[in-house]
Structure formats: structure tokens, C-alpha cells
């Protein structure tokens, strides 16, 4: 029993252990490929540098000159909506879009498994206050007819299929997102009380005979009774109402993050209540809270908006400066980023369908001096291609799948609307808004993470509900939205400076959902049409 033998044995043992350990780390936790999709942040960051910005806006002998009557800047929903309307009225226009395709927050992507959304992914059944929207939905067979009572009949294939929503709470998938499982008596009563309070606001009519809460926000009552809710945070309002259930507060915080990308602390009480009290959808074949959805999310609506105006759209166009000339015409400087050429467009009217943090940088100071103090939170969106995940007890895989007490909004099954009986592979779209810190800090945090770190954030969160996720996932596609959406913080929605912007002067128009103050399709659609109407009026005059 010599020393040598023992030593050797221990060496072999240690070697075996190390290789076994290595095998464990390398083999089953197979490397999951991850791709970060560019959301043109590199170019957009030029906006932060005023010197660079003025440099690229200088006219040289190579600069190409164009003339057009109306120029729309920004190809998100508001810009496309305005474009649709101008096209319908035969007004010549051009639309410049920074990205390589239009759609803004509503863009989608696709792979060999399915199409999927990168951002906005549903449209709630609209109320009847938006005839233009109903007309648009009718044009594209999303509304297929009207019943005897005049209620729209929606296309079955686009109404969100059952099962719609589930919540993973106490290791169980319960139906619906309002927590129900494992709560105490006072939790139930707080939730009931909250729901009846918002029901009251839903029905409320202001002294000006307008609805207290509706969509679009512009049609809401100006009654001080309701407007005063803009001055306080949703959190403080809830405290005033003695609504304290942690389950309720979690749920409401989730809702604020979901629609506004803000926490209870940063949402105005008016906006918080608006989430629950403004949706008054009317449909013959669906409930008032039902939604329309597509595998590719609102990219479906983007296609519908753009399909007749493709020839007027110029993508990869980075606008660096907009100024007014002595003859009152506007000069718009842009760089074509795919071939690096510079251009100037001279036009009679300009529509800024761009968010205010962009307007602030590219409009000359004589045209834009407003201080709106709007803040935009960053989001991480992951499209997860996977084999079906193992399920715990409770409701089956639904359209919207939320994990209680998670920072994220959970995930949406992009394949939910598919009619096939059994899918071997799925795409799940995971949403994570950052609401903990000031948006600036959160943005820095996000952009400093490596792709692998971002992937880990997603996987470790979903692992709470799906233990086998690392074995089932095939690929993860990520996108960071630096300025995903405007936050309806207290005293921002009805800021008088905003009103000034909306009043058109001398051919300069503004249309973006951040002027409504919340980032939803209906508001962008409203703003686009409103601005287009102004242009049409001037045009005809």
C-alpha cells in the first residue's frame, strides 16, 4: 500500500470528479443561442451629440435636394395613420423612417416557427367614439359587419382565443390575472372595493357632459373632480382609499407596468384609473374587455396601414435637423444610412410623428422650445423559441402568462391564435419593463449588460414557473427599447405646454402618442388623424 498508489488514486479520483463536474456544466445546460437585434440605437445616439448632429446637417456639394408638399417624419403608428389619411385625400407626401422598416413600437419579427411581436401586440375592442378607427378596421376585414343593434362584428380569427390569461401564484396557474389564490379575507374585500370604485369612474360623466374616462384621452371630461387626480400618484390615491392588500397592489403595479412602463409610484392616479375605467369596447361577438391579437402582434395593423402607401415611405432615413427658411418653407436634413448619402427636403408642411425627446434635438430652437419633462422607460423584450415547456398544475398554456411577484410582465404565446391542434415548437414573447430607477439609470444598466447576462435575466425569471426551460429553449432573440414608452407621471397628461404644441402653426404639426401621454395604438391613431386633418385643412385653404 505504497504512497505512490494512494497519490495516484487520489489524482485519478480528482481528475474524474473534475471531468464529471465539467461534463455537468457543459452537457445538459446546452448553450442556448441568443441574438440581440439592433433597434437602431447606435445611430439614434448621435442625437445626444449636438456637435456631430450639426456636422452631418451641413450642406455640401454632394447633398441631394428634394421638394415635396408634405413631409412626415417618423413611421410609427401616428405617422402611418397620418400618411393613410393624406393618401386618401390625394395629398402628395413623403414619409421618412429611421429604422429599416416602419411600425415603431408595433414592429414584429419572424422565424421558421412563427411570426412574433417585438412590442405592442394587441388592440382592445374599441369603443364607438372612434369612427375613423372602426372604418380602418372595416377596410381590413377586422370588422366583418354590424349586427341589428349596430354593434361591430369582429373577425373570429383575430379575437383572442380562450384560454386568455393565467397567473402563476403559489406554484399554481390560476385563471385570470387578478390574484385569487391563497388570499385572506381583507385581500378579497380590497380587490372588490377597488373594482367597484373603478366601475363608478367607468360610468362617471363630468359637468361638461363628457365621459370622465374614455379613449382617446382628448375626449375625456375636463371636470376638476376628475382632473385633480392628475396631481397625485396612483400609490397615494390607493393609500387615501385605504386599499392596502399586497395582492391588489402587486396587481395594480403590474397593470401600470404593462400599459405605461411605470410603477405605482410614478403613475398619476388619473392614468392609473384610466387603465380600468376607459375601456368600453362594444362588439356583437365579444365582451367589452376582449382584445384583438395576431401572431405578429400589431405588426398586422402596421401592414394594414402601410399597404397602399409603400411608395411614399423612405426607410433608413436619419433626420438630423428641421428648420424653417425665410420663405416659410421647411428644410429637413437627413442621412440615408444604408448608402451614407445626405439629403435636404424642402417642404411646405412638416408633420413630426416623432417622440418629444427626438423633437427636442432635431427641431431648431425657434420651432421647438417646449419643456414637457416627459420620461420614457426602457424595456427588454425577448422572443423565446422553444419546445413546449413542462407545466405545473392549473390552467393550460394561455395567451398571456404572468408570474406573480416577478419583475417582468411574463410572456405571451405568439402561436396562441394558430389553429393547429398541436405545435411541436412555440415562440413566447417575454416583456420586462424597467421601472425601479430613473429611466436614465435603467437605460445605462441595460445597455451595459452583455447579451449572455440579458439572456440569464430572462431564463432565471421564467425558471420560476418552468423548471425545464433551459432544456427546452432553442433560441432567444432580444431587443432593448431604450425609450419604449412615455410614462404618465403626475401632472404630465394635461400640461398646458403640450396644448401649445398641438395647436398647429405655419405648417408645423405634431403627432405622437406621447402627446396623448400614454403609449397605446388608439392614441397614436388619434394623433395621426388629428394632425392629418390640420394638414388637409391648410392644403385646401
Amino acid at each position: 500500500m505504497g504512497q505512490l498508489n494512494r497519490k495516484r488514486f487520489l489524482q485519478i479520483g480528482a481528475g474524474a470528479f473534475v471531468s464529471a463536474a465539467a461534463a455537468i456544466w457543459l452537457w445538459p445546460t446546452k448553450h442556448i443561442p441568443v441574438f440581440l437585434h439592433d433597434s437602431f440605437s447606435a445611430i439614434a445616439h448621435l442625437l445626444r451629440d449636438p456637435k456631430k448632429l450639426s456636422e452631418i446637417s451641413e450642406v455640401t456639394k454632394d447633398t441631394q435636394l428634394h421638394e415635396i408638399d408634405v413631409l412626415i417624419i417618423g413611421g410609427g403608428i401616428s405617422g402611418l395613420t397620418a400618411a393613410r389619411k393624406l393618401h386618401q385625400n390625394n395629398i402628395p407626401f413623403q414619409l421618412l423612417e429611421l429604422g429599416n422598416k416602419v411600425g415603431g413600437n408595433a414592429v414584429g419579427g419572424s422565424n421558421d416557427i412563427s411570426e412574433y411581436p417585438w412590442g405592442a401586440h394587441y388592440l382592445p375592442i374599441p369603443n364607438l367614439l372612434q369612427p375613423e378607427l372602426l372604418k380602418f378596421l372595416e377596410e381590413h376585414k377586422i370588422i366583418v359587419g354590424y349586427d341589428d343593434l349596430g354593434k361591430p362584428i369582429y373577425n373570429d380569427y383575430y379575437l383572442c382565443s380562450d384560454p386568455e390569461e393565467r397567473l402563476y401564484i403559489h406554484h399554481y396557474w390560476q385563471e385570470g390575472l387578478i390574484p385569487d389564490l391563497g388570499m385572506k379575507e381583507n385581500d378579497h374585500s380590497d380587490i372588490q372595493r377597488f373594482l367597484s370604485l373603478v366601475q363608478h369612474y367607468k360610468m362617471a360623466i363630468g359637468s361638461d357632459r363628457k365621459q370622465a374616462f374614455c379613449i382617446p384621452i382628448a375626449y375625456c371630461s375636463k371636470d376638476e373632480e376628475y382632473r385633480k387626480l392628475e396631481a397625485i400618484t396612483f400609490e397615494n390615491w390607493l393609500t387615501e382609499q385605504r386599499l392596502e392588500s399586497t395582492y391588489l397592489l402587486w396587481y395594480l403595479n403590474y397593470c401600470c407596468k404593462d400599459d405605461y412602463g411605470t410603477s405605482l409610484k410614478n403613475t398619476s392616479a388619473w392614468a392609473g384609473i384610466h387603465y380600468f375605467a376607459a375601456r368600453k369596447g362594444v362588439a356583437s361577438n365579444a365582451g367589452e374587455d376582449d382584445v384583438l391579437t395576431w401572431p405578429e402582434g400589431n405588426q398586422f395593423l402596421v401592414h394594414a396601414l402601410q399597404n397602399r402607401i409603400n411608395q411614399n415611405i423612405q426607410t433608413n432615413a436619419f433626420v438630423s435637423k428641421v428648420s424653417q427658411m425665410p420663405d416659410k418653407r421647411f428644410s429637413v436634413y437627413y442621412t440615408q444610412t444604408d448608402n451614407n448619402t445626405s439629403h435636404v427636403v424642402l417642404c411646405k408642411q412638416v408633420l413630426m410623428a416623432t417622440p418629444q425627446f427626438v423633437n427636442q434635438k432635431i427641431l431648431s430652437t425657434d420651432l421647438y422650445s417646449s419643456k414637457l419633462n416627459l420620461l420614457y422607460s426602457p424595456w427588454l423584450v425577448a422572443n423565446i423559441s422553444t419546445m413546449p415547456l413542462s407545466e405545473s398544475n392549473g390552467v393550460a398554456l394561455s395567451w398571456d402568462n404572468v408570474i406573480f411577484n416577478s419583475e417582468s410582465l411574463g410572456y405571451v404565446n405568439a402561436c396562441h391564435q394558430q389553429l393547429k391542434s398541436s405545435l411541436p415548437k412555440l415562440v413566447l414573447t417575454y416583456y420586462l419593463p424597467f421601472t425601479q430607477n430613473e429611466p436614465k439609470e435603467d437605460r445605462k444598466f441595460l445597455f451595459n449588460k452583455t447579451v449572455e447576462e440579458l439572456k440569464e435575466i430572462v431564463l432565471s425569471d421564467l425558471e420560476k414557473a418552468h423548471k425545464d426551460i433551459r432544456l427546452k429553449v432553442i433560441q432567444i432573440d432580444l431587443k432593448i427599447w431604450g425609450h419604449a414608452m412615455v410614462g404618465p407621471r403626475p401632472n404630465t397628461l394635461f400640461n398646458p405646454n403640450k396644448q401649445k404644441l398641438l395647436e398647429a402653426k405655419n405648417g408645423l404639426h405634431f403627432a405622437h402618442s406621447d402627446l396623448s401621454g400614454i403609449s397605446i395604438f388608439e392614441e397614436a391613431f388619434y394623433q395621426g388623424n388629428r394632425a392629418a386633418d390640420e394638414i388637409i385643412k391648410t392644403w385646401k385653404a
Binding site: 479520483g13 445546460t29 379575437l159 384560454p163 376582449d290 398541436s422
Partner: protein, 504 residues
């Protein structure tokens, strides 16, 4: 004599193996218990508790072993290997006798625990002269805990996903016994008893190896216990688990554990499904069958000489393939799927209808019951509206629509849903012993009459007398008002779950 590994080191290595194997057996028991009994937190904590406590009993018992420690050690090691190796297959197979399952489970965990608990004290006493005490304690426990760590990492990450429980337990049984055999070879010089032990060890090893190789069959056998008849075929397709059972009297097909038909009375079901809707066929009739990959409905359809073309759409190729190749099944469906009039497409019916442009004279829909959301879609208003595109003015449809006696709301919901797209419906029912009272809904765009007189082809079951009773609904199956089944409410799945819940 140039022995490569010294006996003490081999013993230390066996501590490592014993610890790894012991923990694996414990984890297998815990996982199995949570698979079979549910509530993983309770199951795991009880198993861990029982296991640790049993190890304590083992340690205490070790003081009664006074002589022949090495031989005891080897014997225990072989026994642990044998018990641990067979533990998961034993539990799977015996689960069907559930009354005493928990007792058996904890008994097995206890036995393994006691045996593993015996080994550490024994080995320390064997080695007490080889090392200094401080060194010995440190060595033995180091290997013990490293083994435990290795086991707890490998189990969830490698073994369960890649080998499965049955193979894993055999593998570790094999490992356990191999170490015992290695010790026997090493200790051969100590006497004849060790060469006997070696032979026992090798015999055990062979049994365990056989178990490892045959583990698929063990799984299949344990599955056969959940069916009352012998399983003659089972396969997991991309969509479902297909199981075929047979006894002297009948052949039965189960999909995901749900009975699809029994050869003893399937003719009742298929005659009732097919013949009423097939009366008054035009010449050169085109028939569409959705679902029904078993070819039994097609067998009935082929009795009509007017039929020129049968299009069968069934999702699962594994099913249609089985009914083309298995001789018991082809004699049941009379090779109907080989008939030149029949064209089989293995695609989803919803997708198929969306792209189809042909109109059919008769459409026969034989989908599984709407027990989940993905099948529920095939009974929605949207589906029936889509179906209209494959119909002309005088086309007729029939849908199998679960039991109006057990699940009246589900049955009448199908009726209501078909009405909602403008179809005139004619619900009817018949008795199929292996299913019970079963319902069908016939429908057409124009008002239709149930054929009360007689069926124009040879039948085994239907007579004019039976036909006259089929469209009459007695009080306990009478019409009830229900919602329409839509994609965005899936009412039928909700009704079905509730009404069949007591039978689950």
C-alpha cells in the same frame, strides 16, 4: 504482485460510490413519489426524512456486526445495488396496487437507508488500522459528501432528462455491484467466501444489466397494468400516445388513455355515425371524413357504390399508418384505407379546410372528444363557418358529439353552435355498450329529414325499427339551452370538463 489500487483506497472509492448511489436512490424515490402521488414538497421532505432516519438506524445496527466486516460490507453493497437498481421499476409496476403504495415506497426507502447507513460505520472500522483516526474521519466523510454533491447535481441535470428514472436506477445499481465485485477480486486471497461473493455479484450484475437493457419493456409492462386488457401495441406519436389492447373478446384503441373504440361494438358507433347521413346520395358522390384515421367510418362509406371519392383528413400519420399495417386492424377496417377511392391527408383539419376549394356531398366529422383547448377549437362556430365553404346547397354533415346522457350541455352546445352558423340540425343518439349512450348531430343548409325507413346497404346493427327511435330524445337527454362555442370562449371545453369530471 503489482496491484494497481490498494485495498484501503478501493474502500474509500467505494464510500464515494455508495454515497452517490444512496443519494440517487433517495432522489429517485422522491421524484417517483411526486410523479405518482403529486405534491412534490411533501413527498420530497418525507422521503428525505425517512431516508436520513433510516441511515441512523443503519449506523446504530452496525454495532451488532462484530466479525467478518469486509465480507459483510461486500454483501451489503451487492444488496444495495440490487434493491436500488430495481427500486424505480418496482415502484412503477406496483403503483397500480395503490392501496399500499405509500407503505411500500417508504419501506423501500427505509431499507435502502438502513443498508447505506450501515456501510459508513463498517468501512470506518475496517479502515481504522490503516489510517490515523483524524485522517480516517476526514477521508471517509470527504468522499461521502463529494459523492452526495455529485449525485445531487447529476440527477436533475443529466440523469432524469437523458436516461429517465428506470434506466438511472439500474445504472447506479450496476455501479454499486461493480464496486463490490472489484472488492471481491481484490480480496480474493482472503478465502473462498470472497470468490463465492464474486460469483453472486456477477450474477446480480447480469440481472441489473438485463434490467437496464429491457427498461423500455418494463415501462411498457407497467403501462399495461393501467389498462385492464393486455397491451399489444403502444407508441408515442408527435401528437398523442397510441395504445392498442386485446383480449379474447375485443380489440381496443386508446388515444392518450381515452377509449376510441372497442372491436366488440364499434360497428354500432360507425353505422350510426355514417349511414343516416349517407341516405339519398347523388351519383358520383364526394365524401369528406375529418378525423377517423382508423378507417372504420371509411369502411362503412365504401358500402355505397355511388361514392366516387373519399377524402380523409387526420392529423396523426402514426394512426393512419397503424391502421394500414397492423393485420388485426386492417381486418377490422377491411383495408379500407387502401381503397383507390380513398385519399388520405395527414394535416390539421382546420388548416386543411382553410385551403380546400372542393365541395363535398357528405362530410363526416369524427374528432376526439373536446377534452382540451386544442381539440375544442375543432367544435367552434369559426370551424363550422369555415366548413360551409366545403359544402354546397344540398351537402350534409354529421358530427360525433359526445354523450347526451352524461354530458347534455356539451352535446346541446355542439347543436347550438352548428345552428349559429345557419345550419339546420338533426340531433340523434344510439347505445354503444363500451361508450354508453352516444350522440351525433346531422346538419345541412336546407331542412333535413331523419331517414326512418331503412338503410340502403347491408348493416350489422341498424334496422328500420332502431332508426325510428334514434332521433327521439327522452326526458333525461332533452334539449338544454347553452352558449355557443367560440374560439374566444371555448364554452364546450368548459362544459365537457365539468360534466365528465366525475368520471375522471
Amino acid at each position: 504482485m503489482a496491484k494497481k489500487v490498494s485495498t484501503p483506497n478501493l474502500l474509500l472509492f467505494s464510500v464515494f460510490v455508495v454515497a452517490t448511489c444512496g443519494l440517487i436512490y433517495e432522489l429517485i424515490a422522491g421524484t417517483l413519489a411526486s410523479y405518482l402521488l403529486g405534491d412534490s414538497v411533501t413527498q420530497f421532505s418525507i422521503i428525505i426524512g425517512v431516508y436520513l432516519f433510516s441511515m441512523g438506524i443503519g449506523s446504530w445496527l452496525s454495532k451488532f456486526f462484530t466479525t467478518n466486516l469486509l465480507s459483510w460490507f461486500v454483501q451489503i453493497e451487492i444488496l444495495v445495488g440490487l434493491i436500488g437498481g430495481f427500486s424505480s421499476s418496482l415502484l412503477f409496476v406496483l403503483f397500480e396496487f395503490a392501496a399500499s403504495f405509500q407503505l411500500l415506497l417508504y419501506g423501500l426507502v427505509m431499507l435502502t437507508g438502513i443498508l447505506v447507513g450501515l456501510e459508513i460505520p463498517l468501512i470506518m472500522r475496517i479502515l481504522k488500522d490503516e489510517f490515523d483516526f483524524t485522517d480516517l474521519v476526514s477521508k471517509v466523510f470527504t468522499f461521502d459528501y463529494i459523492g452526495a454533491l455529485l449525485a445531487s447535481l447529476v440527477f436533475p441535470l443529466v440523469l432524469v432528462p437523458y436516461l429517465g428514472l428506470v434506466k438511472t436506477s439500474f445504472l447506479f445499481g450496476i455501479l454499486n455491484v461493480s464496486v463490490a465485485i472489484a472488492l471481491c477480486i481484490q480480496l480474493d486471497y482472503l478465502g473462498k467466501w470472497f470468490s463465492v461473493l464474486k460469483k453472486i455479484g456477477i450474477a446480480t450484475l447480469i440481472i441489473l444489466l438485463a434490467g437496464f437493457v429491457l427498461s423500455e419493456n418494463i415501462m411498457r409492462f407497467s403501462e399495461s397494468l393501467s389498462y385492464s386488457e393486455p397491451v399489444i401495441f403502444s407508441k408515442s406519436s408527435a401528437y398523442q400516445r397510441i395504445v392498442l389492447t386485446k383480449n379474447k373478446k375485443e380489440l381496443r384503441l386508446y388515444l392518450n388513455g381515452n377509449l376510441q373504440f372497442s372491436s366488440a361494438d364499434e360497428y354500432r358507433y360507425h353505422e350510426a355515425l355514417v349511414h343516416p347521413v349517407m341516405q339519398g346520395l347523388p351519383k358520383q358522390a364526394k365524401i369528406l371524413v375529418l378525423g377517423g384515421g382508423d378507417g372504420l367510418a371509411v369502411r362503412e362509406i365504401l358500402k355505397y357504390p355511388e361514392v366516387s371519392e373519399i377524402q380523409l383528413v387526420d392529423l396523426d400519420e402514426a394512426v393512419t399508418q397503424l391502421f394500414k399495417t397492423n393485420s388485426l386492424l386492417t381486418s377490422l377496417n377491411q383495408k379500407s384505407l387502401f381503397d383507390p377511392k380513398v385519399n388520405v391527408n395527414n394535416v390539421d383539419a382546420f388548416q386543411w379546410l382553410k385551403t380546400n376549394t372542393k365541395k363535398y356531398d357528405v362530410i363526416i366529422i369524427d374528432f376526439p372528444d373536446p377534452s382540451n383547448f386544442s381539440v375544442g377549437k375543432l367544435y367552434t362556430q369559426t370551424f363550422y363557418r369555415l366548413l360551409l365553404h366545403s359544402m354546397h346547397e344540398s351537402s350534409k354533415v354529421v358530427v360525433q358529439s359526445t354523450s347526451p346522457l352524461v354530458a347534455p350541455k356539451s352535446f346541446w352546445c355542439v347543436n347550438q353552435t352548428m345552428n349559429s352558423v345557419g345550419l339546420n340540425t338533426l340531433p340523434y343518439h344510439t347505445f354503444v355498450p363500451s361508450f354508453g349512450e352516444w350522440g351525433f348531430i346531422m346538419a345541412a343548409l336546407n331542412p333535413i329529414q331523419f331517414p326512418h325507413e331503412s338503410i340502403s346497404v347491408q348493416t350489422k346493427y341498424l334496422t328500420a325499427g332502431t332508426l325510428r327511435t334514434m332521433d327521439h330524445f327522452p326526458k333525461d337527454m332533452a334539449f338544454v339551452q347553452t352558449d355557443v362555442n367560440k374560439l374566444n370562449n371555448q364554452m364546450l371545453v368548459h362544459y365537457f370538463e365539468k360534466e365528465w369530471a366525475i368520471y375522471q
